[in-house]
Symmetry: C2
Subunit: 171 residues, 2 copies
């Protein structure tokens, strides 16, 4: 099992790279560079985790309070389209956005007590899925696997309980 650790500090170099990549995307598409978009993406890439639109907007407003929902939504769509960001839904009705980690793909573990969303990756799991699909004459483009449950380390878990737990749904 590989649990992916997010570094606590933001990697400035990485952020700059992503900003550059986005700028290139914008140019390639013949779109325009704007102050608002720059604010939004630079804020986004400096946040960690699975960010909802509202969370992002709140942060963005600290820099420029005149930026509204529409622009944030639009910019997030562009980020997704550029491939720099992925949209996820964990069943609480909110879209969440995630800048790519160093690891191409990963699955999620969601604690229903404290709301913590952690990531993991396991090649055997991936391989097994491939095998099952194969047996079923199915070609996987992508998948998602989410484990809903609870951290066993209750002290740390309860301590995190500031953010409310995701409502969730699943199997």
């Amino acid at each position: 099992m590989v649990t992916l650790n997010r570094t606590r500090e933001v990697n400035e170099t990485l952020v700059k790279e992503k900003e550059a990549a986005f700028a290139e995307f914008i140019q390639r598409k013949g779109l325009k560079t704007t102050r608002q978009r720059n604010t939004i993406i630079s804020t986004f890439f400096r946040l960690r985790g699975h960010i909802s639109v509202e969370e992002l907007l709140n942060e963005v407003k600290k820099v420029n309070p005149r930026i509204g929902y529409a622009t944030v939504y639009r910019t997030l769509h562009l980020l997704v389209e550029s491939g720099l960001v992925e949209e996820r839904r964990f069943g609480d009705g909110l879209a969440r956005y995630e800048g790519h980690s160093d690891v191409e793909h990963h699955d999620h573990m969601i604690c229903l007590e404290c709301g913590e969303i952690s990531e993991f990756y396991n090649p055997r799991l991936e391989a097994l899925q491939e095998k099952l699909a194969e047996e079923n004459n199915f070609e996987i483009f992508r998948h998602r696997l989410e484990l809903y449950g609870a951290c066993k380390d209750k002290t740390a878990c309860q301590a995190r309980k500031g953010k409310k737990a995701a409502k969730s749904q699943g199997a």
Copy 2:
């Protein structure tokens, strides 16, 4: 790999059992039996697959056109609460409802070409997930795994293409 086959014909006995179970649930909760609820659940249990509210309402209206969205939504919530039905979301923004199969738990394979949603279950996959969770000090309450991709049997797949493919999202 176990692929779950839905029988083409509705199992009348099973449906009656579920209707009875729901009736019992209603009674236990001190709620009332109504013509509308009966229509809705009996329609629901005779449909196969992953049913959206709109699909169900359409069917229900054939029996009693005066039944509206609100009652269908309310009844579905009761069905979920009763444990007879599960709510699922496959990322197209629609809630879908599924009467329990004979098999307790299963995962999904969603063809993005023809929209077919098939079910599968594999104990090794389940076990592996448990193991990963264990290693990560996490207790799984439930999970969901969805494989998005395409049927390899293109002829059958294309033939089914009447219903539009689920929009989807995932990893």
